[in-house]
Symmetry: C2
Subunit: 425 residues, 2 copies
Amino acid sequence: MSRGDGERPSAAVLVTGNEILLGLTQDRNSGYLAREFDRLGFSLRRVLTVSDAQDEIVRGLRELVSVDLVVTSGGLGPTHDDRTIAAVAEVADVPLELHEPTLAAINDRTAGFARQRGIPVSSFEAGNRKQSLVPRGAYVLAPVGTAPGVVVALDGGALCAVLPGPPWELERMWHDLAREPRFSRLVERAGALDRQILRVYGTSESAVANAFAESGGDEGGTVTSICARRLEIEVLVRAEPAHRAALDALVAGLRERLGERIYATDDRPLEAYVLEAVGARGWTLAAAESCTAGLVASRIAAIPGASAVLVGGVVSYANEVKRDLLGVSEAVLAAHGAVSAEAAAAMAQGVRRATGADVGVSVTGIAGPEGGSEEKPVGTVFFHLSTPELEHGHHVVMPGGRGDVRDWAATTALHLVRMHVAAPA
Amino acid sequence: MSRGDGERPSAAVLVTGNEILLGLTQDRNSGYLAREFDRLGFSLRRVLTVSDAQDEIVRGLRELVSVDLVVTSGGLGPTHDDRTIAAVAEVADVPLELHEPTLAAINDRTAGFARQRGIPVSSFEAGNRKQSLVPRGAYVLAPVGTAPGVVVALDGGALCAVLPGPPWELERMWHDLAREPRFSRLVERAGALDRQILRVYGTSESAVANAFAESGGDEGGTVTSICARRLEIEVLVRAEPAHRAALDALVAGLRERLGERIYATDDRPLEAYVLEAVGARGWTLAAAESCTAGLVASRIAAIPGASAVLVGGVVSYANEVKRDLLGVSEAVLAAHGAVSAEAAAAMAQGVRRATGADVGVSVTGIAGPEGGSEEKPVGTVFFHLSTPELEHGHHVVMPGGRGDVRDWAATTALHLVRMHVAAPA
């Protein structure tokens, strides 16, 4: 918790918001900022969440002033309980001043919004004025929504970047921050760490931990974290540039032991790998989804440019939809049920036929909490992949609640496509 | 940040884990604990996340000892970088001791696991012993996984409950904590707060803030937070039972001013309201989705029992799917484009026809980053609701990145259904 002179710059995140301390909202910004700090080579020391009360924000800031950079998130809105700017001014020991260009920009934006929604412009006046107050001498980041960000030196030495709470506003403004001279000097001082990410699918966390130990572990000066999430094991190896050789040796050892279970060496989303694999064959893709009900298609569509490969899909929650849109026969449904290998195969083949896609993937299962049986307990999910080259069925029983089963089922379907559409070697 | 003598007990959460500060994992426990504290009537003052380093955990604990209860999450595993118990013992100023019943329980559990996986039992010995060390005098919570929890008084006065990091282990052990006498005395002292939630759709945060001010604000002793998320404004009013009348008066004032824009007075998900509204008419529902690509259907399907109302839907990413599965005519696509009021109407009507659902809702838009034009910029989204009683089109231009536009578009579609399927008064 100190400024590292000659070391990597240190950082802290201060999240404000009663709604977070009440459990009404989940903070997403600290995770985003943590990844950014790691990418830039900052050492993130703490994340502290406090209420909207000005004295709590002031106290929190004062406890964090020994780092190089404090980033705050939230409390910039137009209402009485948005007090971050006032608290920062207090800790920076400067008064608040009206920033005219910001007021003009916000007025302009809310006028458009008011027109569109038929709300009187006057209802925004007080809020806009409040949001245009900034600490004297602060560097002002133009509003992304209707709140400006500010950068100001705190009494105690830390540079403080005050960013808005809504994630898309914070992320956009974080990029604008790069132009601020004091921040960019810290980024320059940081330099990036050497880092290598290995993402592993199809084995256990202990197997990965064993491969890590057998490869010599962190003996050579690397810092490795191994972390299971969404059915994959993520290995992140980091090292100061002086320990580059140790990093390379460890990564080589892991590659040798884990082989093609390592499916990615960057942090691009799984869905991007799916699109790439299908696109590389010149094929198109469609999904037939029962228990996931659109999760597979919507996750793929989250990737920009997905439309080059994804043609669409059918959410076949009801058996009538399986029959009418996907051509799953009454005979299959009667003999094996909607949650069966046979139904999954008919769904995947049916969605190819219905949409004209080259590749069809299907998911049908029992997400719970109701609907399980002795033979097919809650968590039973059948998958099928149908391509111009193969028919491949898969079947698992997954633990967890309804949300987990659906999320894991969608993830499993995506991996199925990724693994099995690749051209034969 | 003090013990409230005669007031509600105060609490703090200390989350440990390098993987969180590196942005590899998102902490879910603090949100769970926040909701529990609010339910029990504790005042949660802070959530602090620190690394796995023992001195950082010790420093964090020392900063939090002025509250009544500190709950820690994580760092109880068998490996060298699990140091929470040692740090807590240091701050409690007591030595660590082997807890024999815990060792027996863990040995038993790992023996079974080792047998099942064919791993030598001996490989667990050191880890099991480490996990059975507890601060002298601590109350021991039996392991849910392989780590016990402990409850111990810190030097400085706070009671400290040390819980494991995996969410399902933490949640189970949190319930076991109710049996610990010092904790249950705090719970008794807390009593529950009176609280009322109002969820508002179709107006701005400023307008809600104005309604709050006009209703007298928190003058009567209430504590209100106003929070915008996912296109709705959430107002949470809380009060000590002594201020119940002020709470009721404020809520009445807000109801009078915001009227039917208040759509919910509990924290059930929007999707549950959609199912309820459609189900109350005895109708079924299907979605035709382009840019949201299954988000609307999958969010509805997240609610247990959705299958009574949701029959399914079509993800019509490609124009051919709009035409072949939804019957959107080439003429409409040629004259108005796939992102148009006309296409949206044809999609909603088409998905009713294709699936037999009584109600069809459609979404078609430009999520970006590519595909925008002067006439239809990125963020342009058309919606249509088709029911046995009405045809209703809607059109907005949304700010934000691809993910935000898609999420907000799905949310808007859900609200459209919720608002317009209600029976005429």
